[in-house]
């Protein structure tokens, strides 16, 4: 078994980090908390809370267009945070704008493409017509599926998808074969939130760009957990959420590569994103302001920058190695329990630090309830991926997802509890 000590995080280091997360000392179910639900939302270290508290009690004001000092200080913090977050994902600050969450960011891309295609003159790079294709996978999160269903509907394009196998896994070959000259958009999750599968982004980008298609990356499960270089990957757009990367809720990040950001009309319109407004007309500022209508979640952005500082302080490569080892431990462990079916890549194959399972004869909600009784917070349900679950033949799975604060002992407690589930419910009797 891979040991996390060499390239990842030592147990000592993990315990040290855990001390920064007040909630990990809580006992919501009356027993020590084993938090294995970072895939849904992560917990926040003191440092993030303190950065926000400091901002709100010392420098809070409406940013930009303020002549007073407080507004200047707030604007400074705001733009420094943007720089910080941009650097974290290998982007230019002007390529980063804000959203309510990743879902909002993905909707913005799809809504903006729809608006671009309703315009009298359509930018040829953005053109989507009847007969064109939008490509997703069968494993997408609803946030990266529904906006494209709707865009296909509105433009008359066809939504196509890469199918998954019985384990919920799709292959690079199948995806590459599905990209044709008719493809206009390829929208895919970098890391699946259910299977932990890692998409071959570089290959997809090469093929998509060759075909003249845009690539939109749902980076919700990658940016928090491994080093991501958006320029290096070459995608045209990407979305991720602050609340999944130690940051606060209410802040999503939209990356639009310079060329796309310059071409796309905004989805939302209002104050702070215009140059001139008359009663009948309006003109927009360039990106990123163009995509930032109204007052932005400044304190959350400052908090997210602090989260990024924290993550980089630990080291994204170390976090990745730590979680990959835990993911493998989960895969191996769950696959060896009788009557438990592991979803996604097989043990030994590449996967992120999470695992979803099906317990034969026990509904996932009952599994989750029993886990909760021993303090384990895992997630049960369709994880916003109903088509994938339908393909797997179940309504719900049970998912354990790890982060930098997860210990091997916690994974083992999960595996141990999981082993007892079928007996408890008398499954297979």
């Amino acid at each position: 078994m891979t040991t996390t000590a060499t390239t990842g995080l030592t147990e000592e280091r993990v315990l040290q980090l855990r001390a920064d997360f007040p909630i990990l000392a809580e006992q919501p179910a009356g027993v020590p908390l084993v938090y294995l639900d970072s895939g849904a939302t992560s917990q926040q270290p003191r440092q993030v809370l303190e950065a926000e508290w400091a901002f709100r009690t010392r420098r809070n004001a409406a940013v930009h267009r303020g002549a007073h000092t407080l507004a200047a200080l707030a604007t400074d913090d705001y733009e420094v945070a943007r720089d910080r977050i941009a650097r974290f994902v290998g982007a230019r600050p002007t390529e980063i704008s804000w959203a309510m969450n990743a879902t909002d960011a993905l909707n913005t891309v799809a809504l903006s493409l729809a608006a671009a295609n309703r315009a009298a003159v359509v930018d040829p790079r953005l053109r989507i017509r009847e007969g064109d294709e939008i490509l997703v996978t069968e494993a997408e999160h609803h946030a990266n599926l529904l906006p494209w269903q709707r865009l296909a509907d509105e433009t008359g394009a066809t939504l196509r998808w890469v199918e998954v196998d019985d384990d919920g896994v799709w292959t690079a070959d199948a995806a590459l074969a599905a990209i044709t000259e008719r493809t206009r958009v390829v929208a895919v999750a970098h890391v699946s939130n259910v299977t932990g599968l890692i998409a071959p982004v570089e290959q997809l980008v090469a093929a998509a760009h060759e075909a003249g298609a845009l690539v939109v990356l749902d980076a919700c499960q990658s940016v928090p957990h491994r080093p991501v270089d958006l320029h290096g990957l070459g995608v045209d757009a990407a979305a991720f959420s602050g609340h999944k990367m130690l940051g606060p809720g209410g802040i999503g990040v939209l990356y639009l590569a310079e060329a796309l950001g310059a071409a796309l009309p905004p989805a939302r319109v209002g104050g702070s994103m215009i140059t001139t407004v008359t009663m009948t007309e309006h003109e927009f500022l360039p990106a990123p302001q163009r995509f930032e209508a109204g007052t932005q979640p400044v304190s959350a952005i400052v908090g997210l920058a602090a989260a990024v500082d924290y993550l980089e302080g630990v080291g994204m490569s170390a976090i990745e190695a730590h979680e990959v080892a835990l993911g493998e431990r989960l895969a191996l462990g769950t696959a060896s329990i009788d009557g438990v079916r592991l979803v996604g890549p097989r043990p030994g194959e590449e996967r992120a630090g999470l695992a979803s399972v099906i317990v034969d004869g026990v509904h996932a909600h009952d599994v989750g309830q029993l886990l909760d009784a021993v303090g384990i917070a895992a997630r049960v349900g369709h994880h916003c991926a109903q088509p994938l679950h339908r393909r797997l033949g179940v309504a719900a799975t049970t998912r354990a997802s790890t982060y930098l604060t997860t210990t091997e002992a916690e994974v083992d407690r999960f595996l141990d509890a999981l082993s007892g589930v079928r007996a408890y419910f008398g499954a297979g009797r």
Binding site: H363, H365, A373, A395
Partner: protein, 151 residues
């Protein structure tokens, strides 16, 4: 509130519930039927399709198909066992008692006389997220009866 029980699940999965979840009393689509309701709990995906047949003012037969957690399946099974023979008014009364029991958060003494085996669900009251599971079939019957009333 803070007195966490040693086994927090004690009281939730009564043996009777697990047994009903396996037995699935009344599973199947009855024919003919007077009303049918399809209900879905969007939070967890539990589903039920419930059919009821009346004989005059009384429930003659009840059948259901569905999928979900053991709580929702067991409560459909218990309902299917109890409902036939009840008058519509009695059925409504029992549904109301079940609702009161589940929403009590442990504060209401279960009306054992009225609810029979369904008192096994008393433990669900301490798990608010599961109340909808336990009520699913009962609400389906309630809505079916309301539909019949309206005819």
């Amino acid at each position: 509130m803070s007195d966490a029980p040693r086994d927090p699940l004690a009281g939730l999965y009564q043996e009777l519930i697990l047994e009903h979840a396996r037995r699935r009393e009344g599973e199947g689509a009855i024919e003919p039927f007077d009303a049918e309701r399809f209900l879905r709990n969007p939070t967890c995906g539990d589903e039920i399709r419930l059919r009821v047949r009346l004989d005059g003012d009384a429930v003659d037969a009840l059948g259901w198909e569905g999928q979900g957690c053991s709580i929702s399946q067991a409560s459909a099974s218990v309902l299917a066992e109890q409902a036939p023979g009840l008058s519509v008014a009695e059925a409504r009364e029992r549904i109301e008692a079940m609702r009161a029991l589940l929403r009590s958060r442990g504060g209401v003494e279960a009306e054992e006389a009225l609810l029979g085996d369904a008192v096994a669900f008393a433990g669900v009251a301490r798990f608010p997220m599961r109340v909808k599971c336990a009520m699913l079939a009962w609400v389906a019957l309630e809505e079916a009866l309301t539909e019949l009333d309206a005819r």
